[in-house]
């Protein structure tokens, strides 16, 4: 008599699948399906106000259109510029703060905590706060400048094409520099003293010690911060929307404010999704770039990092 598997063994073999199934179901409904759906819509002429357009397959026309659309490319370029300026500023400031805090011997913990305050606010609130600060009539900044007699013009911080983007970057940097500061400070705490002393004996000035020993050691930590922040900044929406709404005249339009406008205001969901896919590729590219840098830096540091 040919023996089939006992019911018990069958159950035993099925158990893992059974236990994993809730997780898979959640992933399928929450991640995979929307992803597939939005990818699909990016090939349709889907408009939010006319649900039947969902079945209106247009092939790659959405993509062709956005690739030919100058506004899209300007927003794309501006996002990269925004990201580059913000990340570099945050890195430099964060490094400075970390180095200073590393030097003090008293109140370090308290300062570390205080440093995290900006991160605790919602970006929307930060946006409103800076909108108020930078307002050309009632803003704190102009008032301060005027009272101090530095300038008596009502500088249009959020209206001028360059100043507006600068103001948003300022708000972004204010809010998130501590990401860099905290990670770099952790790096400084983990840094071995001996190579520094060896370098001092080897003839290095304090600047050379920093340049050749401290900085290479900190770079992996900086790349972690950059990975996190590049994802963060590449999807910047809330702060921009609150402060300028992408204006004036689209001068501060970033990818996601543009996408939101196209998708919700103009109700052209298909095209918006096509843009979203392009911008996701941008995010992935940045993450990949910083991640390879991180891996390279870590391998470079051998066992030390």
């Amino acid at each position: 008599m040919a023996r089939t598997k006992s019911p018990y063994k069958t159950r035993l073999a099925l158990t893992p699948y059974l236990l994993l199934s809730p997780a898979f179901l959640v992933l399928i409904f929450v991640v995979a399906l929307p992803l597939v759906f939005s990818l699909y819509t990016s090939f349709t002429g889907y408009r939010l106000v006319r649900p039947d357009t969902l079945w209106n397959w247009v092939g790659t026309r959405n993509y062709e259109r956005i690739f030919a659309d100058l506004d899209f490319w300007i927003a794309f370029g501006r996002t990269i510029l925004f990201l580059a300026i913000a990340l570099n500023l945050e890195f430099i400031l964060g490094l400075g703060i970390a180095l200073l805090i590393n030097r003090i011997t008293w109140g370090q913990r308290t300062l570390r905590t205080i440093m995290m305050f900006p991160m605790m606010f919602s970006p929307i609130l930060v946006g409103y706060q800076f909108k108020f600060i930078f307002n050309d009539n009632i803003g704190v900044l102009n008032n301060a400048l005027q009272s101090l007699g530095i300038s008596d013009a009502a500088t249009p911080w959020l209206v001028d094409r360059y100043l507006a983007l600068g103001s948003i970057i300022f708000a972004e940097v204010w809010m998130s520099t501590s990401v860099f500061a905290i990670l770099l400070l952790a790096g400084l705490f983990a840094m071995p003293r001996d190579p520094i002393e060896a370098a001092r004996v080897d003839g290095c000035s304090p600047w050379q010690v920093f340049r050749h020993i401290t900085l290479p050691f900190l770079m992996p930590f900086a790349f972690i911060a950059m990975t996190i922040r590049s994802l963060d900044v590449a999807r910047a929406y809330d702060i921009v929307d609150v402060m300028t709404g992408g204006g004036p005249a689209g001068r501060t339009e970033l990818l996601w404010t543009l996408i939101a406008r196209v998708g919700y205001d103009n109700a052209r969901m298909g095209q918006a999704n096509a843009m979203a896919y392009v911008s996701i590729i941008l995010s992935i590219a940045f993450t990949y770039y910083f991640f390879t840098k991180l891996v390279a830096a870590r391998r470079y540091m051998g066992g030390a990092a």
Partner: protein
């Protein structure tokens, strides 16, 4: 010229003084070893010479220059650290050349010096590896190579061998010795291992609790320790130190046994003086099994509690003056625990220290 001179050098951390005004002169091309138990201030002293620690008081000269306020990079010295302190993100080649690169030397010159050091230390095969890919001994050699490429005025070593296993340590010890004869330079070497000190040093500086106890050649320090601390610290196994009292030309040990006062010390002691009688295990040997038992000798019957055969010799644990004492048997035979042997004590090699001050009565 690269002599190093320490004058009344003091180091305080806050209000705690850890080095108490030491004086030391190190000659050009001399190999000086600072030795002492943990926490005695050896590293601190070395780091003050390097400029990594500030000097609280006193003066340090390197060559003719007063270096008190010079940063390390202006002192033209090299240092080898206990845990190597290699630059983790640089290859062996870059580690070796780093100091020269900082000094803005030409590529050709860097290449030459690095090649030369790699040659001396046998690193040529490893030049493109990073420190993480090296064994402990190899890292140690890179650290030494990094020190020699710069042709400094002096080398400072802080326990460079203590992270190596016993066999490698012995091997690297001879390499350092060879290196010094090849690359003639002033060396200050810190260790807590008295064997390293004995084998490497031109002169040994024995330190304790932030004071220098004795400075001398290995021979001097071994044969003529100035006090009980040096006597017990230098030499392995350590010297037997037995409390005693001088009575009418005899050294009376606590258990009533006595030996004559060594002839050469007879006029250094007075009757009734409390002393400590010091004798190395090598100079306390059973009849027929000694090497040093000519000259003035005292004979005592002692019971062996335990015998440890080491090969060419046996350690004999016994009691002398009511204290544990150690003797040696050369050309050994089997000895049973509890056996009583006639020991010959070489009084020519014996030491007497004043019991209250601990100082040798010779002084």
């Amino acid at each position: 010229m690269s002599e190093i001179k320490l004058t009344n050098v003091v180091k305080r951390y806050g209000r705690v003084e850890v080095v108490h005004g030491i004086n030391l002169e190190i000659a050009h091309n001399e190999f000086v070893v600072l030795v002492g138990p943990s926490g005695c201030g050896k590293s601190t002293t070395l780091r003050m010479i390097a400029g990594l620690e500030e000097i609280s008081d006193g003066e340090i000269h390197i060559g003719d220059a007063l270096v008190n306020d010079l940063p390390p990079r202006k002192r033209n010295i090299s240092m080898v650290f206990q845990n190597y302190a290699l630059y983790p993100h640089m290859s062996v080649r870059e580690n070796l050349g780093f100091g020269l690169k900082i000094a803005k030397q030409s590529e050709a010159m860097i290449e030459e010096r690095v090649g030369e050091a790699a040659e001396i230390l046998g690193l040529s095969e490893l030049m493109d590896r990073t420190p993480a890919e090296l064994s402990g001994g190899q890292r140690q050699r890179v650290a030494m190579g990094r020190a020699i490429v710069r042709h400094p005025e002096a080398f400072l070593f802080d326990e460079p061998l203590s992270n190596l296993d016993a066999k490698l340590r012995v091997q690297m010890r001879t390499e350092i010795k060879k290196l010094h004869s090849k690359v003639k330079t002033t060396v200050v070497y810190v260790t807590h291992d008295q064997v390293e000190a004995m084998t490497l040093a031109d002169r040994i500086v024995v330190m304790k609790d932030g004071y220098i106890e004795q400075v001398g050649t290995p021979m001097e320090v071994f044969n003529h320790p100035v006090n009980t601390f040096v006597a017990s610290f230098i030499g392995s196994p350590p010297m037997n130190l037995i409390p005693a009292r001088v009575e009418s030309g005899k050294v009376k040990l606590a258990d009533g046994a006595s030996v004559p006062v060594p002839n050469r010390l007879a006029d250094k002691v007075r009757d009734g003086q409390d002393v400590i009688f010091g004798l190395r295990p090598d100079d306390m040997t059973p009849e027929g099994h000694g090497i040093n038992d000519t000259g003035q000798v005292a004979t005592l019957e002692l019971t062996v509690d335990l015998a440890e055969l080491l090969g060419t010799e046996t350690l004999l644990y016994t009691q002398l003056g009511g204290q544990d004492a150690l003797g040696k048997m050369f050309d050994p035979r089997d000895v049973a625990a509890g056996e009583t042997l006639r020991f010959r004590l070489s009084l020519d090699k014996a030491h007497l220290f004043d019991a209250t001050s601990g100082k040798s009565v010779r002084l």
